[in-house]
C-alpha cells in the first residue's frame, strides 16, 4: 500500500510537469490548428538555457526567468519566420515543417551543448527527502510539482481574465469572427508560440533537475501527445488532467509491470493506453465533438 501511494504521488508530481508542456502544445493547436511535433526540442532548448545560466552561477530562479524570456522571444521568432507563411496550407505541410523544426532545434542543441548528460551542479533542490505522513517524497519532485502548478495557474488566469487571453480564446473558437472585432490573428499565433515555448522550457528545466539533462529529455515532446489526446486536443483543462494521468500511469507501470516486462514498459504504456482509450472515447475527455449534419 505504501509503495502504491508513493508511486501515485511521484506520478502526480511528474504529471504536473507533463501538464505544463501539454498546455503549451494545446495552446498552439487550439489557436492556430498546428500539430506541433517540435515540442520536445523546445523543452530541450529552454532546459539547456537555464542550465547554462545556472552553471555560470546565476541563482536558479533568475536562470529560470532568463530562460522564460528567451523562450518568449524564440517562440515569437519561430512563429514569424517558419509558420506565418503556412497559414491556410494543408495540415500535412505544416506538420512536416514542425518535424523539420524539431531536427533543426535538436541539431542546434547538440552543436552548442553537446550530447553528454549534464546535471544541475550544485543540485538546485536538497536531496534530503520530505516526509508527508507515511509518504516520503523527494524535494526535487515536490518543488517541480509546485512550480508547474503555479505556472499552470498563471497561464489559466491569463486566458480567463485578461483581454489578450480572451482574444486568444476567441481566435481559437472562431477566427473569422475574431478578425471582425479587431483581433489580429498574427498576434494571437505569435503569443501562443511564445507561451508554449516558455511552458516547454520550464517543463524541460524541471525534468532536467530530476533526471539530468540530455537529448532524451525531448522524449517529453512525444509524451505530451497521449496527454493531449486524452484531454481532447483542444481543451486546456483536458491537457492538465491528461498530463497528470500520463504521469501516474507511467509510474504505476514502471513500479508494477516492469518485473514482468523488463525494459521499456514505462515508455510504451502511455501510448498503449491512448490507443485503447480512443476506442471508447474518440474525442478524448473534453474534446469538441464535431457533429456533421448531412
Amino acid at each position: 500500500m505504501e509503495l502504491f501511494l508513493m508511486t501515485l504521488t511521484t506520478g502526480i508530481m511528474v504529471g504536473g510537469i507533463y501538464a505544463l508542456v501539454a498546455l503549451g502544445w494545446v495552446l498552439i493547436y487550439k489557436c492556430s490548428g498546428v500539430l506541433n511535433l517540435a515540442m520536445g526540442e523546445m523543452t530541450l532548448i529552454g532546459a539547456y538555457v537555464s542550465l547554462s545560466f545556472y552553471s555560470m552561477g546565476v541563482p536558479f530562479l533568475l536562470a529560470l526567468a532568463i530562460s522564460l524570456i528567451i523562450g518568449f522571444v524564440l517562440g515569437i521568432l519561430t512563429e514569424r519566420i517558419f509558420l506565418d507563411k503556412l497559414i491556410g496550407e494543408p495540415v500535412l505541410t505544416v506538420i512536416m515543417v514542425t518535424v523539420g523544426l524539431s531536427f533543426f532545434f535538436k541539431g542546434t542543441v547538440e552543436f552548442i551543448w553537446g550530447t553528454d548528460t549534464r546535471v544541475f551542479t550544485p543540485p538546485v533542490f536538497s536531496i534530503e527527502p520530505i516526509h508527508i505522513g507515511p509518504l516520503i517524497v523527494g524535494q526535487v519532485y515536490l518543488w517541480s510539482f509546485v512550480a508547474a502548478i503555479v505556472l499552470l495557474i498563471v497561464f489559466v488566469c491569463f486566458f480567463k481574465y485578461t483581454r489578450w487571453g480572451l482574444a486568444m480564446q476567441a481566435t481559437a473558437d472562431d477566427e473569422m469572427a475574431a478578425l471582425s472585432v479587431g483581433v489580429s490573428a498574427r498576434y494571437v499565433y505569435a503569443a501562443a508560440w511564445a507561451i508554449a515555448f516558455m511552458a516547454a522550457g520550464v517543463g524541460g528545466t524541471l525534468l532536467g533537475n530530476i533526471n539530468g539533462l540530455n537529448i532524451s529529455v525531448s522524449y517529453l515532446g512525444l509524451l505530451v501527445l497521449p496527454a493531449v489526446v486524452l484531454g481532447g486536443l483542444n481543451s486546456v483543462p483536458g491537457a492538465i488532467v491528461g498530463g497528470i494521468i500520463i504521469g501516474v500511469l507511467q509510474n504505476l507501470c514502471g513500479t508494477y509491470l516492469d518485473r514482468y516486462f523488463p525494459g521499456a514498459v514505462k515508455e510504451i504504456a502511455p501510448f498503449a493506453f491512448m490507443a485503447i482509450f480512443l476506442l471508447f472515447k474518440p474525442y478524448g475527455l473534453w474534446g469538441w465533438e464535431r457533429i456533421e449534419r448531412v
Binding site: 485578461t162 483581454r163 489578450w164 480572451l166 482574444a167 480564446q169 476567441a170 473558437d173 472562431d174 473569422m176 469572427a177 475574431a178 478578425l179 471582425s180 472585432v181 479587431g182 483581433v183 489580429s184 490573428a185 503569443a191
Partner: protein, 273 residues
C-alpha cells in the same frame, strides 16, 4: 477611435469603385460601384450566388479584390487587414452566425470592445489599477447600452452556444455594436428567424440607425423584401456579379429588369411564406 471628424449625414462613408473579384475563372464581382452615405441604411439584394457575401467580405477585408478601390472615409483601405478595418470602425455580422460558442454572452460582447481598450498586453498585467478602471467603464457601456438595447439581460451569463439561433443572432449584433462602428455590415440578419424575431430584429436595426446615441450607417444584405423596402434609404441590386441598379426602394420596385431578375413578376411584397 472611429469618430469621423467633420463628417456630416449624407457624406460619402464608403465607396467601392470598379471592384472586380474572381476566383479562378469564375467572376464573382465585375466592376462594382457602390457609394454608401453616412446615416443611411443601404441594402444589397440579389438572388443566391449573386455575389452579395463576396461584396461584404471585400468591404470587411476577408477578401482582396483583384481590381478596383475601396475607400472608407476618403481613405483607400484596399491593403488593410480585417482587424485593422475593424479599428477604423467597420463591424459586421455573418450570414451563418459566427459567435464564440464556448463563451458567455457577456464575454462575446466584451470582445467587441477589443479595439477600444487602451491598456496593452503588459500594462494590462502590470497597471492593475488603470486596467481595472477601464474594464469597469467598458462593462458599464456594455450593460447599459447594448444589453439594454437588445433586451438580453436574462441570458448575460449563459454560454452562447447553448442559446437558440435567434438569440445567437442578437448576441452577434451586440458584439458588432460594442465596437461602436461607423459602418455596420449586416449579412442576412433575418435569415432563419421566426416572425416575431424578424420584427424584433428589424426594430433593432432601425433603432441603431435612427437613435441619436448610435446613428450607425448600415449595409444590409437581406432576402426579406418587405423589410428591405421598409427600412432602406437605398437599394443596390446585384445579379451574377453585375450591378442591375442602385436607387431608392420605389425606383427599384418599378425597374423592369429587377422584377425579371429577382423579384419575379408577381407581388413585390410577397415575403417569405
Amino acid at each position: 477611435m472611429g469618430t469621423a471628424a467633420g463628417m456630416k449625414q449624407g457624406d460619402e462613408l464608403l465607396a467601392l469603385s470598379d471592384v472586380h473579384m474572381h476566383f479562378g475563372k469564375v467572376a464573382a464581382l465585375s466592376g462594382i460601384n457602390l457609394t454608401i452615405r453616412k446615416g443611411e441604411i443601404h441594402s444589397v439584394i440579389g438572388p443566391n450566388g449573386a455575389g452579395k457575401t463576396v461584396m461584404m467580405n471585400i468591404i470587411n477585408g476577408l477578401y482582396r479584390p483583384q481590381k478596383g478601390t475601396i475607400r472608407f472615409k476618403g481613405k483607400r483601405i484596399n491593403t488593410l487587414k480585417p482587424h485593422a478595418r475593424a479599428k477604423l470602425g467597420i463591424a459586421r455580422t455573418f450570414q451563418k452566425v459566427e459567435v464564440f460558442g464556448g463563451m458567455t454572452v457577456l464575454d462575446n460582447i466584451r470582445l467587441g470592445r477589443h479595439v477600444h481598450y487602451r491598456s496593452g498586453i503588459l500594462s494590462g498585467a502590470v497597471y492593475l489599477g488603470r486596467a481595472k478602471k477601464e474594464e469597469i467603464e467598458h462593462r458599464a457601456f456594455i450593460e447599459e447600452e447594448i444589453i439594454d438595447l437588445l433586451e438580453i439581460e436574462q441570458i448575460r451569463h449563459k454560454p452562447v452556444g447553448m442559446l437558440p439561433y435567434g438569440l445567437q443572432k442578437r448576441v452577434e449584433l451586440g458584439r458588432a455594436l460594442a465596437l461602436e462602428p461607423e459602418l455596420l455590415i449586416l449579412d442576412e440578419p433575418l435569415a432563419g428567424l421566426n416572425l416575431e424575431e424578424v420584427e424584433d430584429m428589424a426594430r433593432f436595426i432601425l433603432d441603431i440607425n435612427e437613435e441619436k446615441r448610435w446613428r450607425v450607417t448600415c449595409l444590409l444584405v437581406e432576402h426579406d423584401m418587405g423589410v428591405v423596402m421598409d427600412l432602406s434609404n437605398r437599394v443596390f441590386v446585384l445579379n451574377f456579379g453585375n450591378m442591375i441598379m442602385d436607387g431608392t426602394p420605389e425606383a427599384v420596385q418599378n425597374h423592369p429588369e429587377v422584377i425579371k431578375a429577382y423579384l419575379g413578376e408577381e407581388d413585390l411584397y410577397a415575403t417569405r411564406a
